[in-house]
């Protein structure tokens, strides 16, 4: 077992060696520009892109003509939101999204507000899911787009996508989902789920960084987005720029592997995740954040009350995990996702996200359990809050000095 152990697979995943092997020839031997129509170098590259596009489409139940390659999910989010707003602005200016979206969605919405969009940010319930009635009530005749993520990056909860798309369509709005955390981990099918646009990315599914896709539905209805990058008219005019052939080949291979192995992998990972979670819940005053039933198989976000997340991560130095406390940045702000579940600041500060992945072993999980327990106990021995809690003092009744 090599240390440190990587348990931050929601941030990024290591590339699968099979993906790397597929990509290598496309750097120096088959280096052609997929848009070169006049010679074999171009044809070879184009053929590889076509095959990859098929693999990507197949994973999500799409037609290959509906896949637009981009530089990643952030670009796909931007293209979907800005592209739809620009294309459909004569129909209306209202967009509905939710407060736990990724910053790429939230900040693109903020940008559109400056250009005249009206955006509704739906709250989430304490389990992290949106309220469908609230969604329906928020829709107006000006609503052109409902943008709700598939699986959340911090807590892993899976939104009721089918129901959300049905509500959007009933009122004539399009449905866009950021499925970056879900595609390749759980079955995602654009037809069954009623998705009109969908953003996802290769590096979250054991592919390379720097390549992603936007699915854009071609029929029932035919969806169009206004290009945000002008140039050679690549990707059916929706995204200009020479195609990243090695990246796309890697993305295709990653999608193919996920399609073939996802079911078994999800079973294995959810068993390991549950083992980790159940063992850590044996610690007093520890809580899982977010709905545990509708959740990605490889994620557990757990709060350990009366210890602080960054201090905890320091004690868990052999584990690469992520904390809900952003106090490493100058802001000292705890995670906005956890806060929107109604978690108090101190509980949000005390949370750790464990993200398992394809290469996580049971031995690593056993080690992670032991290290985490040791760290939490060490910090609680140091924590005045833990001592006060143990003495039965109500911490909410103390007047803390602002600082």
């Amino acid at each position: 077992m090599n240390l440190p152990i990587y348990l931050d697979n929601n941030a990024t995943t290591p590339m699968d060696p099979r993906v790397l092997d597929a990509m290598l020839p496309y750097f120096n031997q088959k280096f052609g520009n997929a848009a070169s129509r006049n010679h074999a170098f171009g044809w070879v590259a184009e053929e590889a892109v076509d095959y990859s596009r098929e693999q990507v489409a197949k994973l999500v139940g799409a037609n290959e003509k509906e896949i637009i390659f981009t530089s990643g999910a952030t670009e796909s989010d931007n293209l979907a939101l800005k592209g739809v707003f620009e294309m459909y602005k004569d129909k209306g200016n209202h967009i509905i999204t939710c407060v736990t979206e990724h910053k790429a969605v939230l900040d693109a919405c903020k940008h559109l507000e400056k250009l005249g969009a009206r955006v509704t940010y739906l709250p989430v319930k304490t389990d992290g899911l949106i309220d469908l009635q609230q969604l329906e009530d928020a829709i107006t005749d000006q609503t052109i787009l409902v943008a709700i993520m598939y699986g959340n990056n911090e807590i892993g909860v899976i939104q009721p996508v089918k129901e959300i798309s049905a509500i959007a369509h009933k009122h004539g709005a399009l449905f866009f989902t950021d499925a970056t955390q879900a595609v390749g981990k759980i079955p995602v099918n654009v037809i069954e789920d009623g998705i009109d646009l969908m953003a996802f990315s290769a590096h979250k599914m054991y592919g390379p960084k720097g390549v992603g896709a936007l699915y854009v539905r071609r029929k029932n209805p035919r969806v169009k987005v206004t290009a945000q990058m002008d140039g050679g008219g690549h990707e059916r005019g929706m995204r200009s720029g020479t195609l990243n052939v090695p990246g796309i080949v890697g993305f295709g291979k990653a999608c193919e592997l996920c399609r073939l192995e996802m079911a078994d992998e999800a079973k294995r990972l959810s068993a390991l995740r549950d083992k980790l979670q159940n063992s850590l819940l044996e610690l007093e005053e520890s809580y899982v954040n977010g709905n545990i039933e509708h959740r990605l198989p490889h994620v557990a976000n757990i709060s350990f009350k009366y210890v602080e997340g960054e201090g905890l991560m320091m004690a868990m130095k052999d584990l690469a995990v992520s904390s809900g406390s952003a106090c490493t940045s100058a802001s000292l702000e705890p995670s906005y996702v956890l806060k929107s579940l109604g978690l108090s600041d101190d509980l949000a500060h005390s949370s750790i996200r464990f993200g398992l992945g394809r290469f996580t072993t049971e031995e690593e999980i056993d080690y992670a359990i032991e290290q985490t327990k040791k760290a939490v106990n060490h910090l609680r021995d140091l924590s005045p809050l833990w001592e006060m809690f143990k003495e039965g003092i109500d911490l909410d009744k103390i007047e803390w000095a602002e600082h």
């Binding site: 201090g311 101190d346 140091l382 001592e387 803390w400």
Partner: protein, 137 residues
């Protein structure tokens, strides 16, 4: 972020963790910070008849730098007179632990905790609390 060796040392082997009897007249307790901000420090001093700090204990909820700052503070307090202890400046802690700018607030909190403990001791013993410095944060 990379921590200095001294921060790691204090964090891994914190000095003087514990609790003194806050009801004793010669014990001063300072509790500063807030859970919402991600750090709370409790620092206690025990003072003898000669105004010398004979013991100091702490408990801290916070990041590694906050724990190290308070651990270091207890080390420095022991053996000092109250008058000497008042002079401990947060920048001394910053320097000793090589804290980066985003962690300066941890040292400020430690200084506040020292002052709060001293004031608690003074008030218990019928003395005026020290004039609070203008908050630097």
């Amino acid at each position: 972020m990379a921590y200095s060796d001294k921060v790691i040392d204090h964090y891994t082997n914190p000095r003087n963790v514990g609790t003194l009897d806050k009801n004793k007249n010669n014990v001063g307790t300072g509790l500063v910070g807030a859970p919402e901000c991600g750090d709370v420090m409790r620092l206690q001093i025990e003072v003898d008849a000669n105004n010398t700090i004979t013991d100091a204990k702490f408990k801290t909820f916070g990041c590694g730098s906050a724990i190290a700052s308070s651990s270091l503070a207890t080390e420095w307090l022991k053996g000092k007179t109250i008058d000497e202890a008042v002079k401990i400046d947060n920048m001394d802690i910053v320097e000793e632990l090589a804290l980066p700018p985003v962690k300066i607030h941890c040292s400020v909190l430690a200084e506040d905790a020292i002052k709060a403990a001293i004031n608690d001791y003074r008030v218990k013993n019928g003395l005026e609390p020290l004039e609070a410095e203008k908050s630097h944060h």
